[in-house]
Amino acid sequence: MSKPQNVPGNVRSKGLVDYLNDENVRAVLYQIVAIGLIILAGWYLVSNTLYNLEQQNISTGYGFLDLEASFEISETMIDYSAKSDYATALLVGLLNTVKVSFLGIVLCTIIGIIFGIARLSSNWIVRKLATVYVETFRNIPVLLQLFFWYALIPGAFPHPRDALEPLPGVLLTSRGMYLPVPMADTAFTMMGIAAVIACVVIYFVKKWAKKRQDATGQPFPMFLAGLGIFVGLVLLAYLAGGAPTDMSMPELKGFNIRGGYNISPEFMAVLIGLTVYTSTYVAEVVRSGIQAVPNGQWEAADSLGIRRTVALRKVILPQSMRVAIPPLTNQYLNLTKNSSLAVAVGYPDLVSVSNTTMNQTGQAIEAISIFMSIYLGLSLLTSLFMNWFNKKMALVER
């Protein structure tokens, strides 16, 4: 449209009909109409709700967040009691959601990659087992799977009185798993710092090793060296901190088990359920990613006498990642969103805490708006991270 109109004969001035027939003009008009309708609908909903709330004498706003929550939450990662306020309660729920989602994403990726590769194995049994796993858990609704795991764990394990002890100090009961944990000590802070230092050292050693290999071709056993540096430094910090050996051991006191670290059956059910379910999708993403790489790439590596495992790592997987990252992002988002089903087995995630909150305060709209924004935020963060990762992978190829 911005081109100068120097075509002779095209001098007729445009009438209204001509404008309406112009595609660009029409597109703008449609957009104005659409936006107008959305604003109208939004205004109608909001004003209606406000009117109804007023009629029921419910005050709006987020003031309730400062009030005392006065309900207990069974598992918390931060200090929380019934005396804490609603904001803290919601934070506890958020942290529980993040905890189970994060662990779920890490585990489902590892398991998914293993099963995805296994589905392409040349070994018949491995291939069939992987297929059965994927097809079974992919086709059962995730909510049912959560119920299944939640029914299985308390059912399969004994009452705390007769706790199973598969490893010394590790107790398995119908109330979950209990692990011994070291008593808090300054040595552990020092170990944490040592771990960070170790990572920095490893980073520089890796850089040096790459430089040396570029120059001389000599490969450097980076994995072993890295492991050595990490374990060595952390161990050193532990010894320097006086090598504390006090452990908090789980023990039966009365009818319950005290001490140690408790992994609740609810948490286990949610984590296992989400991990297993999502890992089947990750396996499919990995499998199709590998299959998307032309067979010729395998053959070319083969003709050079390169082992299949090396070809997989150096040639095939980098190319599969390119196609696999976007659908993988979808699966991570699904897992995060599916974690809201945790409420069904009583794991105190964000939705569960929000439910209690809105029941007690009647501030349904506010509570829902909070957890919806949080899920949106979590999803956007995941997407941003995966976009960054995608770009990085694409850059490596250049």
Binding site: D214, A215, G217, L304, G305, K314, E397
Partner: protein, 272 residues
């Protein structure tokens, strides 16, 4: 059936394929293929599409195992993909794939010296220098070393493929359509390089082509395939015009199946 190319026993066959058959599912893609090539000689394989040319080459390089028959390389039986001698031979055979099959995840120079880098037989620095030398040989600029295959034109990719095939200075060079898709000047250049390599380094070269002219002028031996069988093989010098007409007609593919060349002068080389 077996008619060794070189009747004179002064050259023992360096590459020797005996009654090789290969099938995918129930379909025989290669049937009773025989091929004998002395060390340092060159051979063109020619034949219509789906004749099994590429499959034969992949059997030679060890991607597919034989269903029956044998492949001997300098007396080593390498008919099966897991043959003990296979790994040693990987170093001594270079192959250019029909569709190049360059590794998209690696830079051009890493592609060319992938084997050396992975097996640690060359430092990365030396490998890159070696790759740049080879790029020069096939007429590509030094700058292309740091590009990825996706950044290259089709003709450039083909030349990188050739460079990768010759990077270990192999004693057997297998080229699946080295000049397909190249302009005549470039195609001549590549054929000249291949000829030079065979001559100077004593490399045994087998090359698939669709161009009868190139096959006759650039290669010492010719094997013509059709439907998984060897249809004709012999010295290119022995092809006279009657032959040529038949072979060309064959190549240009009437769909009527092989034409038996009872009228040809060298019936002993005719298979049907």
């Amino acid at each position: 059936m077996t008619a060794p190319l070189s009747r004179s026993d002064t050259h023992p066959a360096f590459i020797s394929v005996e009654n090789l058959s290969k099938r995918f599912g129930d379909k025989y893609v290669l049937e009773d293929v025989n091929l004998h090539l002395p060390k340092g000689e060159t051979m063109a394989i020619i034949g219509p599409s789906a004749a099994g040319k590429s499959v034969l080459m992949k059997c030679l390089v060890g991607i597919y195992g034989a269903d029956s028959g044998h492949i001997f390389l300098e007396g080593d039986d390498v008919s099966q993909t897991n043959a003990p001698k296979r790994f040693e031979w990987a170093e001594r055979i270079g192959m250019l794939f029909q569709h190049n099959a360059l590794f998209d995840s690696l830079k051009v120079w890493e592609n060319i010296c992938f084997r050396q880098i992975e097996l640690g037989t060359m430092s990365r620095k030396a490998a890159k220098e070696h790759a740049i030398d080879l790029l020069g040989l096939v007429g590509l600029a030094t700058e292309s070393a740091d590009l990825t295959p996706n950044d290259l034109s089709g003709g450039m990719q083909k030349r990188v493929g050739v460079a990768r095939a010759i990077s270990t200075d192999p004693s057997v060079l297998l080229l699946d359509n080295p000049t397909a898709g190249l302009d005549p000047v470039l195609s001549n250049h590549i054929e000249r390089i291949i000829g030079k390599i065979a001559e100077q380094r004593g490399t045994t070269v087998i090359s698939i082509t669709n161009d009868m002219q190139i096959a006759r002028t650039r290669y010492q031996n010719l094997m013509m395939m059709h439907d998984g069988k060897v249809y004709w093989s012999g010295k290119t010098a022995d092809i006279d015009e009657t032959h040529n007409a038949h072979l060309t007609q064959m190549l240009n593919g009437s769909s009527h199946g092989p034409i038996t060349m009872r009228t040809g002068k060298r019936e002993d080389h005719v298979y049907s």
